[in-house]
């Protein structure tokens, strides 16, 4: 049978979400058909938009920022705030402190900052909405964190695997590796092109890593994201603590050229420590 992919894109949460829906070759659907791809994509994106409204670290009207400045109580906030708060505590505990939401902000004050967890968590929630849509086979990628899955009665002839290119962190137009993902989540953690560093909670300073990025797959994106971050901070500790359902599937090292006679470094590379 023939099937097609339709892509939908939305700018939200400070990044761009890409949703690919695979379906049998197009048939006429009315605009009120709940399986209409455009309607389906909007329902998924609305989940992300709600998360943005609650957790945005930039929009002053977000629950997060209003709580920070005392203009909103946690009890009166969107219920998602409390849920993410609970996940944040859990993430710090499960990772043995390699992942944290207790961070120093741009203003120099330390406080609760869940933005490292929210993107994966919200994308996972959006995926749960998609999993209820009959016949759909989807992959939702929000700024590099993605979930693949399908809804009830999805035609088994439509492939459920997705080829994910892991971007070369030093040149994101390039792909360093390709991972095939079936149902489940994939998250990559690493050095962003500009500025933001992943903090090693044990030192309070940016994590010193021989890796430019590390990729984790598992059943839930919230945790794939958490474990990717934890693994970037300390791959061995994270690998030991990581539940069996989560695996490191790709690592991109910081490039260096090895001389047969020793080790030379290209300017600007980090000396790896083992």
């Amino acid at each position: 049978m023939s099937w097609t992919t339709r892509a939908f894109v939305a700018d939200t949460m400070g990044t761009t979400a890409s949703l690919h829906l695979r379906a049998p070759a197009p048939r006429i659907t009315s605009g009120t058909d709940p399986s209409d791809p455009a309607a389906v994509s909007e329902r998924a994106f609305d989940v992300l938009r709600r998360a943005d409204a609650v957790f945005s670290a930039y929009r002053q009207s977000s629950d997060l920022l209003r709580i920070r400045r005392g203009a909103l109580s946690e009890a009166a906030a969107d219920p998602w705030y409390a849920e993410v708060r609970a996940r944040s505590t859990e993430a710090a505990e499960q990772t043995g402190g390699l992942f944290t939401t207790d961070l120093v902000g741009p203003d120099g004050t330390r406080g609760y900052d869940p933005t490292g967890l929210v993107k994966g968590w919200a994308t996972q929630r959006a995926a749960e909405v998609l999993r209820e849509v009959p016949g759909v086979v989807f992959c939702l990628n929000v700024g590099g964190d993605l979930v693949a899955g399908h809804g009830p009665d999805a035609d088994p002839a439509i492939p459920r695997t997705w080829r994910v290119g892991i971007a070369d962190p030093t040149d994101p137009g390039q792909v360093s590796a390709v991972v095939e993902v079936g149902d489940g989540a994939l998250a990559t953690s690493g050095t962003a092109q500009r500025g933001s560093h992943i903090i090693d909670p044990r030192t309070g300073a940016p994590a010193r890593s021989a890796l430019a990025s590390i990729t984790v797959v598992g059943p839930d994106l919230t945790w794939a994201d958490v474990w990717a971050t934890a693994a970037f901070v300390d791959p061995e500790q994270a690998a030991v603590r990581m539940p069996a359902a989560y695996r490191i599937v790709a690592t991109v090292p910081i490039s260096r050229v090895d001389h047969p006679a020793g080790q030379s470094r290209r300017p600007g590379t980090t000396i790896p420590h083992s």
Partner: protein, 159 residues
């Protein structure tokens, strides 16, 4: 079916153009900056699991024993860029890393590898084998970063 093929060819063409354009740029810059002798060994390559689908819901039972890491090398597969071998590292009873190591060769003995070209060639090798990449994952991009990203090019093919 023709539409799918046409779409596939179009998308592959886009990606091949992207990759080959970049490859020539990388070759130029690498030649200019690499002072190493021609027998420089490869930069530590990007690692990835082999092409078999990495089913995210697989749950093998693993023991969390703290035995040391071991590396295993799989068999070599011939591709048009040369033989590809896969290495895995097992630590504590589970795979913690997988290497896809490419040796683009001309003479068969020559392992001269351009550090920047290895990931590019690796990606080209993989994409040349079957269908193109569906999604891109990496450190988070902003919406502005998305505009110049490979993901946006892929999305454009399906909009």
């Amino acid at each position: 079916m023709k539409r799918i093929l046409g779409w596939l060819m179009g998308t592959v063409t886009v990606l091949v153009v992207l990759f080959s354009y970049r490859t020539s740029l990388q070759a130029v810059s690498a030649d200019a900056s690499t002072a190493a002798p021609p027998t420089a060994t490869p930069a530590a390559p990007a690692t990835a699991t082999p092409a078999a689908p990495a089913n995210a819901t697989a749950s093998a039972s693993q023991s969390a024993s703290s035995s040391g890491s071991q590396t295993f090398t799989g068999s070599s597969v011939d591709t048009r860029f040369g033989p590809v071998q896969v290495q895995i590292t097992v630590s504590g009873g589970r795979i913690t890393a997988a290497n896809a190591v490419t040796y683009p060769t001309e003479s068969g003995k020559d392992r001269q590898i351009n550090a920047r070209a290895v990931p590019t060639l690796n990606a080209e090798t993989v994409t040349a084998q079957s269908s193109d990449i569906d999604m891109v994952s990496g450190a988070t991009y902003t919406s502005q970063g998305y505009r110049q990203s490979l993901q946006s090019a892929i999305d454009a093919a399906h909009l």
